[in-house]
Amino acid sequence: MKKKYQAGRRREATTWEYLVLTVLALITMLPIVYMVSTAFKPLEEMFLYPPRFLVRHPTLRNFAELLIAMDALSVPFARYLFNSLFVTVATVVLGVILSSMAAYPLAKYPRMPGNKLFFSIVVSTLMFAPEVTQIPRYLIVDRLGLIDAYAALILPVIAGSYGLFLMKQFMEQIPVELIEAAKIDGAGEWQVFWRVVMPLVRPAWITLTIFSFIGTWNDFFTPLIFTRSEQMKTLPLVMSTIGGGPGQVARWGAVAAASLVVTLPTIILFVLLQRYVMETMAHSGIKA
């Protein structure tokens, strides 16, 4: 699958290019490094003058303080963590399965009536910001009586046009012969889908898993609008309240620790699965 790219290149990158890109990469990483370092800073180091970038005496006290700050919120920290994890996992699993199921006919049965129209609607919805639909979406969720239920945080996010688009583009690469062969062997569509199609498009659904995980995990707007009670809040939403909003310095250490706790899972996930992403992304182009 993977091509040896370096071998075919005509020009090797020069030392200068390495130097410039390395410096740029380091500058880009500075805020992240600062976030990690601050999470371990004792209070006396936080408000030093002159300000210090890196931590000198690392401590775990901020994390303890985070737990205390969370305790004061009347709902245990574990509940927020559970909410975030449950909502994210449910959204990712359902989203990946449903998008893949819908993408399969679009990719492999181009003559199916309604197929082209459906796909062009999906592509046009790529072209508008999700914020556009927030208000009527709120009204619909409200009408369905789902406000403050897990379903409100999961269902509206599942049917994302990007997921369907990505899976369809990737599935088009599957040779029709493989599907036909499986059918001749007596497999029904359902078996073809799970035993032939899904294994072949593994890089695509792993990629979609990552993007969907990151998107849902970081989502602040959806829980902000669709939850009422404290028990239903997710991590990003709670984080914005413990700091006391922009400009507040109260519990600075706890906030720094919380930032790290929220950010780390997404970075780890990407590092672990990066190679699948790169295999998939080339198919993400739109043909006009």
């Binding site: 890109l21 508008f128 922009p246």
Partner: protein, 303 residues
């Protein structure tokens, strides 16, 4: 009559032939219609009404739009203006930087490491990172930027980056650019790896002299689909700027210096509960990004 019957027969034939496939699409389509298509249509309808959630919507024709463009100074002078300045600068700039970085990284060893370094900012949440920005751009001498600028003697007094009207928007732009190496950037990188090597060799034969010519005559034409995808993402994201602005500058921001279209939408929709008016704002944003998306499709279409 005959036409109707043949239409009916076509549907029956399609169902007979493809019913399993329609069932495959059903769950997704159901959710897609309820939570994406219906909201778009509802927004379009509500934008012509007065609707405060408590009473049923009342039809008022084009009043919301008239109000929005003629009388709402905050929308016109701040939300629209800030969003356009932001989008016109950060959109193209982020796009070009993404492509340029991807092009260079593609030629390096340890490509994955460089990719990770530039991509990571885009997956951090605006909420989590706001702590960091509030320190970097803090208004007093304890802020990192103020400290550094005072050390090298560029300024003598600390600048209130997040309170001055003139610096709020630039700070939001810088942070957004930092986060802009996202999906588009990855798509560019992957697309670059997929350009067939023979094309470069053929290009040499055809008289491509340097790297710049190679990029313009070979790489860019081959990568049209990826470039279009990146353009659509850049347009949508830059016109929908809100999260970062709200986290850094607050809502409402000082003198509306960080006010954007989506901030205005949020203000009317979820703080004042004037849903009809907010829907009109949403429709304007939708038309804007849709029109620009179409323009991008025209530019990148294969002629």
């Amino acid at each position: 009559m005959n036409g109707l019957r043949s239409r009916w027969q076509a549907i029956r034939y399609a169902w007979h032939e493809y019913h399993t496939m329609y069932l495959f699409m059903l769950p997704f389509t159901l959710l897609f219609v309820v939570f994406v298509v219906a909201p778009v249509l509802t927004a379009a309808y509500l934008s012509f009404t007065y609707f405060n959630v408590l009473e049923p919507p009342r039809w008022i024709g084009l009043s919301n739009y008239r109000l929005l463009f003629v009388e709402d100074d905050i929308f016109y002078q701040h939300a629209l203006k800030n969003t356009f300045i932001f989008a016109i600068i950060t959109g193209p700039l982020g796009y070009v930087i993404s492509f340029t970085l991807a092009w260079f990284i593609n030629r390096l060893r340890f490509r994955q490491l460089y990719t990770l370094a530039f991509y990571t900012p885009s997956i951090t949440s605006a909420i989590a990172m706001s702590v960091i920005w509030l320190y970097f751009f803090a208004n007093d001498r304890y802020g990192l930027l103020n400290y550094l600028l005072m050390e090298i003697g560029l300024i003598t007094e600390p600048v209130a980056w997040l309170r001055e009207q003139s610096t709020i928007l630039p700070v939001i732009m810088i942070v957004s650019l930092w986060m802009s190496m996202g999906t588009g950037f990855l798509v560019f990188l992957a697309g670059l790896q997929d350009v067939p090597l023979e094309l470069y060799e053929a290009g040499m034969v055809d008289g491509v002299r340097n790297a710049l010519q190679e990029v313009f005559y070979i790489t860019i034409p081959v990568m049209r689909p990826q470039l279009l995808f990146g353009a659509v993402m850049a347009i949508v994201n830059s016109f929908a700027v809100f999260g970062i602005a709200a986290q850094i500058a607050g809502l409402p921001s000082p003198l509306y210096a960080g006010h954007t279209i989506v901030a205005h939408l949020y203000d009317y929709g979820f703080i004042r509960f004037e849903m009809g008016y907010a829907a009109a704002i949403a429709v304007v944003l939708f038309l804007l990004t849709f029109f620009l998306g179409r323009v991008a499709m025209r530019i990148f279409s294969e002629r």
